[in-house]
């Protein structure tokens, strides 16, 4: 990917399919991720959106941010609705009622919609092999409803339903590994991305959307409102998540792991944690525990990627 970076800005369309004028908070990286992803998806697509921040900020009758055909129905059923769109396109193209122009189906949901309440619908749609891309915009909590924990909230983060307190460290569980869960469905393409690496994100979404069958892209999206971070450092925070190894960028293509950037010298997790109010309460001991876990998981990931090279 790196080699393209210099030229990439010229290759990216200036067209906006997720148009400006939406209601996201200042510094919202979910909105940034979605805007970039839509550039990669292009105009020949149908978007199915779960309830959550991006649905709310982009749609309020009678306005819309969307320049693509877009449907929102409920919180947990996005992959199932996308299944229906995919099936309808297949049937109607076959029966000659729609032009066969390779319309893409893209489902978009937050981490809550994806890893928690909509996991069954997503699993079903992946297992059935629908031709669709599922994008998870992971801001590590239920932000739309006021920063409640999800199974994607990291260990130690304080949220409104996993608050740090006199006898609590905040979230006591470790982040659910959604990419691994998707990969376990033996789908052709799984990737992680972050809008702090825009060309990597665009390249992955482009690839994902062109693949036949289910594809899954998990995008870490900094949320200044929920993370209690300054709105002007969202891009930097995303980079730190990657540089510390907390959120590594990789692809799993037909089961083969490939690191998008192997951080030989990772930064200490503290560099990332200290900029966010949600981790403010963490003791040195807990930070050491997080560091240890990140080191171990990162090494495991490197081994998986190396194993596939050999």
């Amino acid at each position: 990917m790196e080699t393209y970076t210099v030229y990439a800005p010229k290759l990216v369309t200036r067209k906006e399919y997720f148009a400006p004028g939406h209601r996201a908070c200042i510094g919202c990286a979910e909105a940034l991720a979605l805007r970039l992803a839509c550039k990669a998806i292009g105009p020949n697509a149908i978007i199915v959106n779960a309830t959550g921040c991006m649905e709310i900020v982009s749609s309020q009758l009678p306005y819309t941010t969307w320049r693509l055909p877009w449907i929102h129905t409920l919180f947990e059923n996005t992959a199932a609705v996308a299944s229906g769109v995919d099936a309808a396109l297949k049937a109607m193209v076959r029966k000659g009622r729609r032009e066969d122009k390779g319309v893409k189906v893209v489902a978009v949901g937050g981490d809550g919609a994806t890893a928690d309440i909509g996991l069954q619908a997503l699993s079903g749609a992946m297992e059935r092999g629908h031709n669709f891309l599922y994008i998870c915009l992971d801001n590590e909590a239920y932000m739309n409803t006021g920063i409640q924990r999800s199974s994607s909230t990291p260990f130690g983060a304080s949220t409104t339903t996993s608050p740090a307190g006199k006898v609590s460290i905040g979230q006591v569980t470790w982040k659910k590994n959604m990419p691994a869960i998707c990969a376990a469905h033996n789908i052709p393409y799984v990737a992680t991305a972050c809008p702090s690496y825009p060309f990597d994100l665009i390249a992955k979404v482009s690839k994902a959307v062109s693949i036949k069958g289910p594809a899954y892209v998990h995008i870490l999206s900094v949320c200044p409102t929920g993370w209690r971070s300054a709105p002007d450092i969202s891009v930097r925070l995303g980079r730190l998540a990657v540089e510390t190894g907390i959120f590594p960028l990789y692809e799993i293509e037909n089961g083969q792991y490939k690191l998008s950037r192997d951080t030989i010298k990772r930064r200490p997790v503290q560099d990332y944690l200290k900029l966010q109010g949600r981790f403010r309460h963490l003791s040195a001991e807990l930070i050491a525990q997080i560091q240890e876990r990140v080191d171990r998981e990162y090494t495991q990931l490197q081994e998986k990627a190396r194993g596939h090279q050999g």
Binding site: N44, I46, S59, L61, A80, V85, A88, A91, R98
Partner: protein
């Protein structure tokens, strides 16, 4: 010419969906609906129906997939029952308020707990206010005919609403009945292709399902309500056209031997056929009893109902569902409400029976009628009476 053959009603319903040339079927198995979707899977597997069959992982996803497929412009069918309908609950409202013309057979089933796979109308009543057009059928022929009509009603530009056809579980779904499957050419003549006005398609991007702030929500709901009420006219026209073409006529409220009857039984669904036999018997004995059957459940046929019962003194309503702690059978309470403003109205007696697959025989209906007359005469402290229950 279409000829009469003996066929299981579930199979016939699936064949009707084939005749309607559905594009997408998304369904999940549950007794007593399963034979319908099994047969549809078979029709698709054999290339007899050119459709995408989505074997979803739950009913919630079945109805959700129907939303997506319908919004894309496909002709969409699903079927469910009891617990499955309940699992869909949240999605049902969306189908109606987003004006997606999905057709669904509900093989009416009791609700847990205790678990019962057998029939009653608890599932129907729980989805009463979802905004769907809903109708009851009494036998296999009606199920076939109204499955075809349901597509035409749902997809009518003046309607664009999902339609539920309520078919009693086991009593109808699992019986073999002599019935006529219309010829394909006849169905094609009756049912034009689905032409959904604003489908999801890149050439003309539409946004569907935006959220509504308080300044607009009430208006959206009012428009939905007006639309459902106005659907009655297209429904009547559809049934009229169907009658002209196929010779079988359907009406929102249907009367049987009501001439001169001061006492009327009131039923819906498959029990109506037993009730007719009971009415025949009682008429034979010189009793002036008639039967009124409710076919159209939503939009509720107020005018037709008032007309049908206006000369009666006693109206004995048989519900197959409970409204716990409430005013009696759900249909009985609606009928009471519909008649409340009438200057002359019959005394309404509410019975609940036939729960969880318990049968009501001809003699059962006779007992209900005589008990109903007794209650109407002497009055009752209770909102309703449960028939045939051991205390």
């Amino acid at each position: 010419m279409a000829t009469k053959t003996g066929v299981e009603v579930s199979i016939a319903i699936a064949d009707a969906v084939k005749l309607a040339n559905a594009d997408v079927v998304a369904a999940y198995p549950i007794t007593p609906q399963t034979h319908i979707v099994e047969h549809l899977a078979e029709l698709v597997a054999n290339g007899e129906l050119d459709a995408e069959y989505i074997p979803v992982e739950s009913e919630h996803s079945a109805m959700s997939a129907c939303l997506g497929a319908s919004a894309t412009g496909a002709r969409v069918f699903t079927a469910t029952a009891g617990q499955g309908l309940e699992l869909m609950h949240e999605v049902l409202y969306v189908a109606a308020s987003m004006q997606l013309p999905i057709v669904m057979t509900v093989a009416n089933r009791a609700l847990s707990a205790p678990l019962s796979v057998w029939g009653d109308h608890s599932d129907v009543m729980a989805v009463r206010d979802t905004g769907w057009v809903q109708m009851f059928v009494e036998n296999g022929q009606e199920a076939v005919d109204n499955t075809i009509c349901a597509f035409r009603i749902a997809e009518d530009r003046r309607v664009l609403l999902p339609v539920m056809v309520h078919v009693d579980g086991f009593y109808l779904t699992h019986v073999i009945e002599p019935l006529t499957l219309p010829e394909q050419a006849e169905v094609d003549k009756f049912l034009p292709p689905n032409d959904y006005p604003l489908p999801l398609w890149p050439d003309k991007p539409v946004a569907m399902g935006d959220f509504a702030p308080p300044v607009i929500y009430s208006e959206a709901k009012k428009a939905q309500e007006v639309n459902l009420r106005k659907a009655k006219q297209p429904i009547l026209e559809c049934w009229e056209e169907f009658g002209k073409q196929f010779g079988r006529y359907y009406h929102p409220v249907e009367s049987y031997k009501t001439e001169g009857a001061k006492v009327l039984l009131f039923t819906m669904g498959s029990f109506s056929e037993t009730a007719m036999t009971a009415v025949d018997k009682m008429r034979g004995e010189g009793k002036e009893i008639g039967l009124v059957r409710l076919r159209l459940w939503r939009p509720f046929p107020f005018a037709e109902l008032r007309q049908a019962v206006k000369n009666a003194d006693v109206l004995i309503i048989l519900d197959r569902a409970l409204s716990y702690g409430g005013p009696g059978g759900p249909v009985a309470s609606e009928v009471k409400a519909a008649l409340y403003g009438e200057a002359k109205r019959p005394k309404v007696v509410s019975f609940i029976a036939g729960l969880g697959g318990r049968d009501i025989t001809v003699s059962g209906f006779e007992q209900i009628v005589s008990r109903g007359i007794e209650l109407a005469q002497k009055g009752s402290e209770e909102e309703y009476e449960m028939f045939g229950v051991r205390e």
